[in-house]
């Protein structure tokens, strides 16, 4: 069986990154925006693993970094959900367009 070339994996991760960026800019629902951010972080994870396996297989640096990212993404998601719940209590909505207390 032939191995999947590195380029294919990089295409996948870059596509995921831009799907995340696109979702972040177009969606107004906070949960969906949070999901978009997670997509961006996971595309980075894929990149790290791919680079580590294909280019620098003698050390595990990239894989360790991925573990850091997963832990921090979990912490970030916990805080994000807390913020969103708190906002839902006051606004009765999780649409970002409704949060417009402050204007220029």
């Amino acid at each position: 069986m032939t191995e999947i070339p590195l380029q294919h994996i990089l295409f996948l991760s870059t596509a995921l990154f831009f799907i995340g960026v696109y979702g972040f800019f177009t969606r107004k629902n906070m949960i969906t925006m949070l999901m978009s951010v997670e997509l961006i972080l996971n595309s980075v994870n894929i990149n790290f693993i791919a680079f580590n396996k294909y280019l620098f297989a003698d050390k595990l640096d990239g894989i360790f970094f991925t573990i850091f990212i997963i832990v921090i993404a979990a912490a970030e998601a916990a805080v994000a959900i807390a913020i969103i719940i708190n906002l839902y209590r006051s606004h009765k909505s999780i649409d970002v367009d409704e949060t417009n207390e402050m204007k220029y």
């Binding site: 951010v37 980075v44 990239g62 970094f65 850091f68 805080v79 994000a80 708190n86 006051s90 949060t99």
Partner: protein, 459 residues
């Protein structure tokens, strides 16, 4: 390094002291702890130790930036006693999260591995998302927290993508490893390396609010609780610029021609947009937010110059800027404590009659921010601009000086409100802790202006 361990223990201890209901002992304990940490940290001066397999590197720059962060945090904690007096429900949580934020900031000024940079930035940011929303019943605070979170996590994504591309090209996270890689492959760096630099620049620019990544700043500064805004405006700027400079000076100083033009454009945009928008603000917190953006523009000049002396320039500038900003927020907090729930510049009307002392310290702070001689702000600007001219960017300095002139307009608006406008006649009494903070900051501002050699010759 010891600073980080002791602060972590202090943060945990703070939580437990809260659980066992010794709330009176909290603040003295934290202040003593921070003072002790400054002492212990200073003992690492000139030791240049690499910690944890070269993850952290405490050189003299790291030690001095750490001390600056700790000193500013002590001032914020001094203000906090009175600020949280009405609402002591989650006092220990607030305090311990502020301490964890400081740990993140210290990691950001002492990292020598990109993993530590990432962890430092996230420790700082995640704590700040919580702190920005810590006034749970206030709509504005919730909204500030949400906006900060969305923008911050988005920026983190860019930063990480930058790191992964640098890793893909060089195979290492160590700053010195990347530096060696750049020097070895000077002529034939792959494209992903440049894209990586660019993306990391975007990620860091978000954190220090460089135009065009600044749009969250005004809303977050306005909506967050005022004390947290003071903390955010000072500590995050210090840590962010130190991290930015450390990365670019160590790794990329031999390939400046590829990113300095971009930084020049960003600096010019940041200075003009920050200053011009600040002129039109009526809300004091928003005005300080835009003024912080314009100061970020000036400080970017030090990164453009990218020399060893840029560190001194950033250290002096952030010190002068932080001290003056803390004064401004302390005066605002004091006025607001006298039952005026309003952040508009009009709240300063007639301040000179209500409390001459506060009007005087506010004036010193504003003069320092505007860069008028004998204050710290003047010397810091002078040093920064001289540093930039010696690196050959005279045109940038000309624009920066022009911008400082615009800045004088809106800083003087506050002084004029305090001295020449009619306002409430009621006398303002001042809390002892606030008086202490104002005296310390006023003396520090003047000292930085009159005897700047204290810092520049030490280095």
């Amino acid at each position: 390094m010891k600073a980080i361990i002791i602060l972590s223990a202090l943060g945990l201890a703070t939580m437990f002291v809260g659980v066992y209901n010794f709330k009176k002992a909290l603040l003295p304990m934290i202040l003593l702890g921070l003072l002790a940490v400054i002492g212990i940290n200073t003992m690492e001066w000139n030791t240049n130790i690499h910690y944890y397999n070269d993850m952290l590197y405490f050189d003299n720059w790291a030690v001095s930036f750490t001390n600056l962060i700790l000193a500013v945090s002590i001032l914020v904690f001094l203000l906090s006693g009175q600020y949280f007096k009405k609402n002591t429900d989650h006092l220990e949580d607030n305090y311990s999260i502020i301490i964890f934020t400081i740990i993140g900031a210290i990691l950001m000024v002492s990292y020598s591995n990109l993993a530590m940079l990432f962890i430092g930035i996230e420790t700082l940011s995640i704590s700040l998302y919580i702190l920005a929303g810590s006034k749970k019943t206030s709509l504005a605070s919730n909204e500030a927290s949400l906006k900060y979170f969305l923008m911050g996590s988005f920026a983190t994504g860019f930063l990480l993508f930058g790191i992964v591309l640098l890793y893909g090209a060089s195979g290492t996270f160590h700053l010195h490893g990347i530096k060696d890689y750049v020097i070895e492959n000077h002529a034939s760096l792959p494209t992903i390396f440049y894209v990586g630099i660019l993306l990391m620049m975007v990620g860091l620019a978000f954190k220090i609010s460089i135009v065009p990544f600044h749009f969250w700043t005004a809303d977050v500064y306005e909506g967050s609780p005022t004390l947290i805004t003071a903390f955010m405006a000072t500590v995050v700027k210090i840590a962010g610029f130190a991290a930015f400079l450390r990365l670019f000076f160590t790794c990329f100083s031999s390939i400046t021609e590829h990113f300095v033009p971009i930084l020049c454009i960003l600096a010019v945009l940041t200075m003009f947009l920050g200053n011009i928008t600040a002129v039109y603000q009526n809300n004091f917190k928003r005005m300080l937010a835009f003024s912080s953006i314009s100061h970020a523009g000036y400080m970017l000049l030090a990164i453009i110059a990218l020399k060893e002396s840029s560190f001194i320039a950033i250290l002096l500038y952030t010190a002068a800027y932080s001290v003056a900003t803390i004064t401004a927020f302390a005066v605002l907090l004091m006025i607001k404590a006298a039952h005026q729930e309003n952040d508009s510049i009009d709240t300063f009307n007639g301040l000179a009659k209500r409390s001459p002392f506060m009007a005087f310290t506010l004036t010193i702070a504003m003069l320092s921010l505007a860069g008028i001689p004998i204050t710290g702000g003047f010397f810091a600007k002078y040093y920064l601009f001289a540093n930039t001219i010696s690196a050959g960017y005279t045109w940038l300095v000309v624009l920066a000086v022009f911008n400082s002139a615009i800045g004088v307009y809106y800083y003087f608006k506050v002084i004029i409100a305090a001295y020449f406008k009619e306002g409430s006649e009621e006398k303002l009494s001042i809390f002892p802790a606030y008086q202490l903070v104002l005296i310390i900051t006023a003396i520090a501002t003047l000292l930085l202006g009159i005897l700047p050699g204290l810092i520049t010759e030490m280095m």
